[in-house]
């Protein structure tokens, strides 16, 4: 009899715990999608000349990696809850296109999700992230060190009708005209999306419209600026400016 009572008590305790945990946690599925002018693209879209930028240049995409950081929630009480310090998206690695996270807050307390493209200056310290070092994501010290924000590589048809490479790489903008006195300009930027959900499972889809890197506000001609963009201070500032319209965030309960 005592044993039976003990079992019932344990069962109740377990059920209470389960219920309580469900009420105080929210599960997030972060999806990282890519598109070109609204048409979804995937790793199967790589290597073919199926894209045309606003300047009329036909191009292929052969590699796309980009870094998002400081992914966090803003709560209605004004506090911020970190979800993930950084995430490297690699179009060729399926496992990088989705990540699941759990946080110990109820969804009704969440007001918004925020994140950065690239690293802010505090996080962008040289060589401190072993998992990013391991995939050669570093920026040379002569350019200030730290890490890439994006590598978008491929080929385009140039004015001579040849296939020419492009390396649309984003980093912290640096003016190295005086190598002993590097001057920087911030090129990371923030994205934010409000969340109105009362369910405990939320899917956040962060889409990159790649075509937007080449337009708005700066119409981009690969013919003029295709390679060696990392040490190009003006090009980095224009990349950052164009990036502001690249990302869109959708929230859905599931």
């Amino acid at each position: 009899m005592i044993l039976r009572n003990l079992s019932l008590f344990s069962l109740c305790l377990l059920m209470a715990c389960t219920k309580s945990e469900k009420e105080t946690t929210t599960e997030f599925e972060l999806q990282f999608t890519q598109s070109w002018n609204g048409t979804p693209i995937s790793s199967e879209s790589l290597n073919s000349f199926q894209f045309q930028n606003e300047a009329g240049e036909k191009l292929s995409i052969e590699r796309l990696r980009y870094l998002l950081s400081n992914i966090h929630l803003q709560l209605s009480n004004g506090t911020e809850i970190p979800l993930k310090a950084f995430h490297l998206v690699n179009l060729q690695k399926e496992e990088s296109l989705k990540t699941n996270l759990t946080t110990f807050v109820t969804s009704k307390d969440i007001e918004a999700v925020s994140l950065l493209f690239g690293f802010d200056n505090e996080a962008n310290q040289d060589g401190i992230y072993p998992d990013l070092n391991a995939v050669s994501w570093n920026v040379p010290k002569m350019l200030g060190g730290g890490y890439h924000f994006m590598q978008l590589d491929g080929k385009f048809e140039n004015n001579a009708g040849e296939l020419a490479p492009y390396n649309f790489h984003a980093i912290r903008a640096v003016d190295k005209s005086d190598p002993e006195n590097l001057k920087f300009e911030d090129s990371f930027f923030e994205m934010e999306q409000s969340i109105e959900s009362t369910t405990s499972r939320i899917r956040i889809t962060i889409d990159m419209d790649i075509s937007e890197w080449f337009v708005n506000p700066h119409l981009w001609y690969l013919e003029s600026d295709a390679t060696s963009l990392m040490p190009n201070f003006e090009a980095q500032k224009r990349i950052a400016a164009n990036g502001k319209s690249v990302f869109s965030i959708q929230i859905e309960s599931y």
Partner: protein, 353 residues
């Protein structure tokens, strides 16, 4: 009464299982992999499969097997015949010689720091999806060891020493391809190279020469060498991204490389980036050993690139033939590359050591 008997039995059972019982069978001794400080500081932990943990007995057995010519059909070729310790576990030939003097298909890749190949794809073309899988193929390849696994297992089983060594390493006297390749992979994972002059520079133990300094600057400069995108930096002391690239060797491909494995034409002509460590001992270079010297390699990237549909966009000046380095820059770049060679790597490894 029944409870008392049960408790006594339980105590008896637990006591019998105590670790220090001399009657209990002890497993192999875990191998303490010495990870260089630069690696532990800059890189994530190495790939050590849970189904093949490093043990003292397994590593020692793998080393013995690595140098054992009885793995080949005619008893003349061991792993070390093409992967010589003094050559950073590669050899001096463009393509290695297998049994009956047959030429192989590709240049023998050096063997070091392979536990840090995070994608776990080996060989020039990425065909082997683990180090164990990599060790599997040469034994039966007709141009390499030309043997059968049944024959190898029988030969080693009949040996007076090997069965006991396998029992000590893997708890079985029965020898087969699985335990043989596991032992070889364990040994290979312990081959670590991180004592090059440039490592000593990073550790504050020496300075670079002005030429080496300039060479490093060229290596890291996107406007000049731009080597770092594929070959890493002081923050990636492997000096390879272990990824696959077409580096502009050919316009038409006699060897499809990764493309032959994936079946994707976009992968044709792509090969795994080799590490730049120990270049002074790994000539000739490239998957087919076409370049005899570092000067030839640098000349290739400077003015010898060949266009193709799959050439990596990082070969950004392909339409000008390459990055167009000056003679001085080429010499300085090579001076830097030589500083990545570890003069002592490979010493003390092999039979009798």
């Amino acid at each position: 009464m029944r409870y008392r008997v049960f408790i006594l039995l339980l105590i008896g059972f637990l006591t019998a299982c105590k670790k220090d019982d001399p009657g209990m069978v002890q497993g192999p001794t875990p191998y303490a992999l010495e990870i260089p400080s630069l690696f532990s500081e800059k890189l994530i932990t190495p790939v050590l499969p849970t189904n093949n943990p490093l043990t003292e007995e397994g590593v020692a057995l793998g080393e013995k097997l690595f140098f054992d010519k009885r793995l080949s059909l005619d008893g003349n070729i061991s792993c070390a015949s093409c992967h010589l310790p003094q050559q950073a576990f590669s050899d001096r030939r463009a393509v290695s010689l297998g049994i009956r003097g047959q030429e192989g298909e590709r240049n023998a890749m050096p063997i070091f720091n392979l536990a840090w190949n995070y994608d776990d794809r080996f060989n020039w073309d990425g065909k082997a999806l683990s180090l164990e899988a990599q060790a599997f193929r040469p034994v039966t390849h007709p141009k390499e060891m030309g043997n059968t696994w049944v024959n190898v297992a029988r030969t080693l089983q009949e040996d007076t020493v090997y069965p006991n060594l396998f029992e000590q390493a893997f708890g079985t006297y029965k020898i087969d391809s699985v335990v043989i390749t596991k032992a070889l992979a364990q040994f290979e994972r312990t081959l670590i190279s991180a004592q090059a002059p440039f490592d000593q520079f990073l550790l504050g133990q020496r300075n670079l020469t002005p030429r080496q300094e300039n060479g490093l600057a060229i290596f890291m400069d996107e406007d000049r060498g731009d080597c770092f995108h594929c070959h890493g930096s002081e923050n990636n002391p492997l000096w390879t991204d272990n990824d696959f690239h077409n580096n502009g060797l050919d316009t038409d491909f006699a060897d499809l490389g990764l493309g032959a494995i994936t079946g994707d034409p976009a992968d044709n002509g792509k090969f795994r980036t080799p590490s730049l460590r120990n270049l002074t001992r790994t000539a000739p270079y490239m998957h087919d050993g076409r370049f005899q010297t570092l000067e030839e390699v640098v000349n290739h990237y400077s003015e010898g690139l060949n266009p193709s549909a799959t050439i990596d966009p990082l070969m950004k000046k392909v339409n000008q033939g390459g990055v167009q380095l000056t003679a001085q820059d080429k010499a300085d770049l090579i001076a830097f590359l030589r500083s990545l060679s570890d003069p002592n790597f490979g010493q003390g490894i092999g039979p009798g050591d």
